[in-house]
Symmetry: D2
Subunit: 403 residues, 4 copies
Amino acid sequence: MSSPNPVFIPGPTNIPERLRRAVDVPTHDHRASDFPAFLAALLEGLKAVFQTTRGEIVVFPSSGTGGWEAAVTNTLSPGDRVLAARHGMFSHRWIDLCRRHRLDVQVIEAPWGESVPLDAYAEALAADREHRIKAVLVTHNETATGVRSDVAAVRRTLDDAGHPALLFVDGVSSIGAMDFRMDDWGVDLAVTGSQKGLMLPTGLAIVGVSTKARAAMETAGCPRCYFDMRDMLGTTAGGGYPYTPPVPLLYGLREAVAMLEEEGLDAVFARHRRIAEGVRRAVAAWGLPLCARRPEIGSDSVTAIMVPEGHDADALVRHAYDRYGVSFGGGLGDVAGTLFRIGHLGQMTDVMALSGLATAEMAMADLGYPVTLGSGVAAAQAWYRETAAEAATAPAPAATAAA
Amino acid sequence: MSSPNPVFIPGPTNIPERLRRAVDVPTHDHRASDFPAFLAALLEGLKAVFQTTRGEIVVFPSSGTGGWEAAVTNTLSPGDRVLAARHGMFSHRWIDLCRRHRLDVQVIEAPWGESVPLDAYAEALAADREHRIKAVLVTHNETATGVRSDVAAVRRTLDDAGHPALLFVDGVSSIGAMDFRMDDWGVDLAVTGSQKGLMLPTGLAIVGVSTKARAAMETAGCPRCYFDMRDMLGTTAGGGYPYTPPVPLLYGLREAVAMLEEEGLDAVFARHRRIAEGVRRAVAAWGLPLCARRPEIGSDSVTAIMVPEGHDADALVRHAYDRYGVSFGGGLGDVAGTLFRIGHLGQMTDVMALSGLATAEMAMADLGYPVTLGSGVAAAQAWYRETAAEAATAPAPAATAAA
Amino acid sequence: MSSPNPVFIPGPTNIPERLRRAVDVPTHDHRASDFPAFLAALLEGLKAVFQTTRGEIVVFPSSGTGGWEAAVTNTLSPGDRVLAARHGMFSHRWIDLCRRHRLDVQVIEAPWGESVPLDAYAEALAADREHRIKAVLVTHNETATGVRSDVAAVRRTLDDAGHPALLFVDGVSSIGAMDFRMDDWGVDLAVTGSQKGLMLPTGLAIVGVSTKARAAMETAGCPRCYFDMRDMLGTTAGGGYPYTPPVPLLYGLREAVAMLEEEGLDAVFARHRRIAEGVRRAVAAWGLPLCARRPEIGSDSVTAIMVPEGHDADALVRHAYDRYGVSFGGGLGDVAGTLFRIGHLGQMTDVMALSGLATAEMAMADLGYPVTLGSGVAAAQAWYRETAAEAATAPAPAATAAA
Amino acid sequence: MSSPNPVFIPGPTNIPERLRRAVDVPTHDHRASDFPAFLAALLEGLKAVFQTTRGEIVVFPSSGTGGWEAAVTNTLSPGDRVLAARHGMFSHRWIDLCRRHRLDVQVIEAPWGESVPLDAYAEALAADREHRIKAVLVTHNETATGVRSDVAAVRRTLDDAGHPALLFVDGVSSIGAMDFRMDDWGVDLAVTGSQKGLMLPTGLAIVGVSTKARAAMETAGCPRCYFDMRDMLGTTAGGGYPYTPPVPLLYGLREAVAMLEEEGLDAVFARHRRIAEGVRRAVAAWGLPLCARRPEIGSDSVTAIMVPEGHDADALVRHAYDRYGVSFGGGLGDVAGTLFRIGHLGQMTDVMALSGLATAEMAMADLGYPVTLGSGVAAAQAWYRETAAEAATAPAPAATAAA
């Protein structure tokens, strides 16, 4: 079930040695006298990752989906309207979650492969003169399609419309990998998970909360307890937790934040962009289209690649795993079978990326795709060579503390 | 923040080496072709731990509190009545959680230090001729007071009353450490966490679900999504998860189940009882009363010890940590300051237990308690010596796979 | 100092997860009652790896060089003549070691890139009518040049000459990776280390000892103590060690032996041959010559590649490390600067090998080598694809115990 | 074979988490461009541990015995006379090693339980007018008897006699645990191992070399190669190794040195003395004599305890392991069966020490020793309590980097 090969799924990502050892610790009492100082420093560090100074951070023991639930149940009431675009599996699921919590979701359908449709958002907000829309949802990086949306533009749309709705952002596969600015973009609730740009095992939902979102908690009527943010903010302010926290993952999170700090967020984003560009050049050399319909919206976390007519992308993903021990992502929902995904966020070097591309080429060739062995690799090599000096000054976050 | 000393808190417990290495793994794709077989085997193994063949198991990425929430929101509707006793901090919290989910909790107050009051339960059930009580809650082991309740007797009470209410059990600090029989006792929803008898880090809520509980999900009206059991049962049946699962902890859970299986559940329970008895004899030698009001309800997971009048138990706990690097549990809620707790579940040898007792003696002496150094240790030594042959045939689950 | 990229040095090799965790253990007392059974099983397992039933195994806490020293000092006396070919850095060093121990080494110079010269050995043995040659040395796999020698043929040469000399083999980079048959080939002393085919960290010299070699110990006059084999054989027979053994590495060694057993030695050798052949095809595609002068003597552990005239191979190795975080081997001794080496023994998948080849291509291109990006990768991909079914039935030894 | 209980053997000692993770690293190329700077810093740090600024350090991949061999073979010639006392198993073995290397050992027999006999040394040196004695051997801490010798006094004896012999010290179980001053005491060769005060797994012999010892290498006639110090000093000066070094252990060694530095050597020594004193008080409470004949020579690393007439100490050690999973040291050589040893060097807290004492009491009681349960524990508790403030300012080196 295990292989020494890296994974190329868009999360959980490859875990750096440094984080594996940060997480692999003997039991420590979360009620001990030194826990509060640890927790305070961790939350402070996370603010920097979210690029917020005004917001607060809560960390739930759950997957990222729990972060979505926390966002909506803590600030909204049953029957509240939320505006959301469906343009991929993860935006679809968030909409579904809202509906299960009895919210009234105004869904804007958009092509899978497109960003959040700004015009449609503007139109909906303009039409909502009574401000029945209480929250606007944006999936910053649609992991299912490899598409980035323009959160800043959604904020401008809200501002232009003079609309008071809260702005919620799913940053699960962007935060810590692609530029995300909670304060600058006026985001009210931003959700991520431990297993993406933060390079840890799954198990933590991390949510940034604006002052406005916090205020909304006072009147929000959705029932909640496990994901109650007031409980969480109240206890973490005192250095505690409302229930037993997963201390090892929290230790890992502190170390992950330290790694991002040491490298510098801008360097982290540039590194992701550079690795992603090599993958995109390889795909171009293969002659395959991206799912992302326009080059400027291509994700730096994951690249979704359309397979040629007559091929089943799921079979490709299975074959690569069974024959070569390499995991790629398959298509989800509407794009199942028509695309496969190469995840390249978190700890990913040129060398690792090339091994993924070489494997994809073998697997495609095995299944009769019209692809020339080595072609994508060569295109990526050319790019990586050309830009490697940059790499040298922005090293992958791989160094272990001890080495 | 770390020490080579064991912890003596009632969870998270000391993690065996074997489990630390089971959890410390490189990223593996949870959508890979070998994941379904792994997951099926894990869930099957967990059934044995819950002593159920008819029930099903769901494993949520959350703390145990999430398991409580899953239990009530998946089977009940707002306004439904539940019957519960409050006799410690954890039964109190479960009641609070129910109320936040708009349930109508009929609370029976009982002394902190007593078990669930069977007579009062019987009376309430008898009085409920219209069967408005939809669920009866039992905290099998009150971690805050070190008190065990008789779940089988509650089942008999329900049966005697011919009452159809569901039976929910908080087994967080009992399952995997003390005898718990889901099928025999007719438990409908049984909740535990990864960080107690299963000896893992915090991060998994594990819930056993009876056929009757599953049927109740079809009509339950509480809103839910993250903790939706039908989603979970539906996807795990096919080898998947409704969202990203925490694979490393699931690997650890499989190994923990293997450890319990190898030792044998009866031997596991006997081992806990034996270690606990040594601690109780030490406490008797100190001349201090237990919080548990009757000997037969003393927990085999944790021992709660009343401190002498005029002493602050919290100060004792802080002192033991700050001076000797040893964590004990403090008092919670109504018993804050009046008791301290020695957790002794999971991986705990005679030798480890004695070191905890010796430390408690030093800390008590430092703070002026009327306790004779070595007295509790000697009492426990005598018991451990006397029963050590039994120990030899029921070894602590400490052996690493490789050694 | 650390990178998530694999290393491509001919040892220490990439350590499988399973072995890292076998080695990472708490302290265990080597004088405990369960140590003898462990040690006996370990030594028995090693015999299978050496393909010997008649021989014995000793394991010294040292690097492989210690094994060379143990071999000669335990069986020879100052002034004794040994016959050895110098055809690479490691054969050179063994000769030097013999001389420091006052042995009279009859050196046959051979080209670096050639095997042990059988004719010259035959000639020397034939000329030695008085049997002054007490031992014949063979470097089974010259790690410095990537050349395999024919140990069976040397044995036949000895037999044909009716010469009673002992046959010593340096199998440091062959045993556990390439077919080595101690009994069939009549090897008297065979030396390997933990950090090559056995995939562990450096720290153990493992020596196979024939009955004849053991007899020679009785009269051998070289002073020795730390590396005294009679002490070692005497104490290990009783389950002990003459001094403190490195228990964690011994645990790792047992696990490494188990991995080789589980895969099967033949499958292990076939896997190494297959991976190596892909690398050789890549080198051919680059248009670069191997150091190995004939195809049939190319090593399956390491490939030594001559760089084009006017290029400094050491600069290439440095560049690959500094820019891409990948370690290759440089040239040693007479071939310093003229070749670089790709180590591919131990845990090495197709995917890992391709990443090494892709990196070598980038590094060569950076330094102006006339090499086409992707060319070697494509040649290796074609080979790996073609033979991957075989791979599927002979999986790389990567599976961790827990996964 | 493994237990969560600490070991109480005088090495290998309990490995701190921080060191386990420093050692558990992926393969790193020891010929990479960043290795020299690492190695230089490591050797510099070791000088501080040896309390030398004028000396040099060599680190061999071997057990401590290899360090003894390196010391004598690099500086002496066959037939050279060395002066040594035999007063325990380890001094006995060093004498044996010298003889195997054809040295002429002038042995002074002393009682096992006594220090090096200064008067006899003085007498021998005074009698040696021709300065045939080339080296004087001292076992700083006789691990077999728990006895410390006065190295400074031996230096004075040499100086008083105006004798030019080299001074060699076995500091295997003292360096890093008890005050050892290479420069102040004029030690020419000082030997230790990784598995004692340095708290690592076995596998490194570390030797401090004075200028005078280095000069002696030029004329030393003992054959040597693996342990050749000139090779080692020559290559490490350039950042390399004469053969493959055990990189993981070297990483661990750097971290161990960092731990000692952070705590401060004086605090390290005080901590060992304090823990040892608690053990000695427990032994006194048991009414058992130490092997050390005088209080002032009792070792701070290990305490050797004479068992009552008619008891077999080896049976006690076996029983403690088999029944309670705790390792103590047995008697070696002349004292086999008559004493057992409690090792308390390296990572050892009050709490751990008390668990060892409690276990020893149970085991002794099981075997009919006239010992009162809890008596030794109480004596040690009283001492640890009394001195714990001191402990608080000199914490055990247990903190992990990440926690």
